[in-house]
């Protein structure tokens, strides 16, 4: 275990949190999107995290227990879209209902806050690693 392992772990956290922020931004931006490339209404995205070992196959139990984070996949919301009555909308069905993404702005903003707090905590680690490296560099001066 050395200082560059710690940087790797913190970088994995920064990447994961940034993916979460990007997904949130996409959800907010597409809160009213009714047409997508794959057809149909936009569905909200949510990255799924999982742990990822930093050691190789011969690493000891301790090294295998200290894990970084990885975005496993981006989950697509399986819930049905919201049907809103709006006969004038170009994507309204024959009964006058439009399918709108099931995006809750309050939920997205809370998610964004949580992601940015986690992101900042990972930055604190990077700063601490730098301070530790500087202290180590002083040895022998």
């Amino acid at each position: 275990m050395n200082l560059s392992n710690i940087t790797d772990i913190a970088v994995s956290g920064l990447i994961a949190q940034r993916a979460r922020m990007a997904a949130t931004a996409s959800n907010v931006a597409n809160a009213h999107t009714t047409r997508t490339a794959s057809g149909g209404v936009y569905r909200r995205r949510d990255p799924v995290f999982r742990t990822d070992s930093i050691g190789g196959p011969f690493a000891g139990e301790l090294v295998r227990s200290i894990q970084r984070v990885q975005v496993e996949r981006v989950a697509v919301d399986p819930r049905p879209p919201i049907a809103r009555f709006d006969p004038g909308h170009p994507d309204a069905d024959e009964r006058g209902y439009v399918s709108l993404p099931r995006v809750n702005l309050v939920e997205e903003l809370a998610n964004m806050k949580s992601a940015s707090r986690s992101y900042e905590s990972n930055l604190v680690i990077m700063r601490k690693v730098r301070e530790m490296a500087q202290a180590a560099m002083q040895i022998g001066r």
Binding site: M1, I6, T51, L62, V69
Partner: protein
């Protein structure tokens, strides 16, 4: 103590190795603060220093079993109360990280002074 001031240096080295390993464990907790069902990990110093003190045959820092990661005891936290089962409290981890990095820096400072004193003794300028 066979060497002047030198006896403390391997102990400090052991302590600093532990601080780095623990910093990695705490960093892993922060990185996984939003991973479902993640349980926090921590390392305890448990006997690592005592082992180092009792080891007189160590001739190289990289020899097997000398100050290696296996000297530390791994502790796993409980499952969290949050709906995603994550047991990490971010603020607590950041406080521990800061404290741990501070301990490392203190040990590095002491080591720096010890080496400076030894250099002074070797040069004979103190007379």
């Amino acid at each position: 103590m066979s060497q002047i001031l030198g006896g403390a240096i391997p102990h400090l080295e052991t302590a600093m190795r532990f601080r780095i390993a623990r910093q990695a464990a705490l960093s892993a907790n922060v990185a996984n603060a939003d991973t479902p069902n993640y349980r926090r990990v921590d390392l305890s110093f448990d006997g690592a220093l005592a082992k180092a003190a009792g080891r007189i045959e160590r001739t190289h820092a990289r020899h097997l079993g000398a100050g290696g990661a296996s000297d530390y005891r791994l502790e796993r936290g409980p499952r969290g109360q949050r709906p995603d089962g994550n047991g990490v409290q971010l603020d607590r981890e950041v406080v521990e990280l800061t404290r741990n990095a501070g301990a490392f820096e203190k040990q590095a400072a002491v080591l720096t002074r010890l080496l400076a004193i030894r250099r002074l003794a070797l040069s004979g300028e103190g007379r």
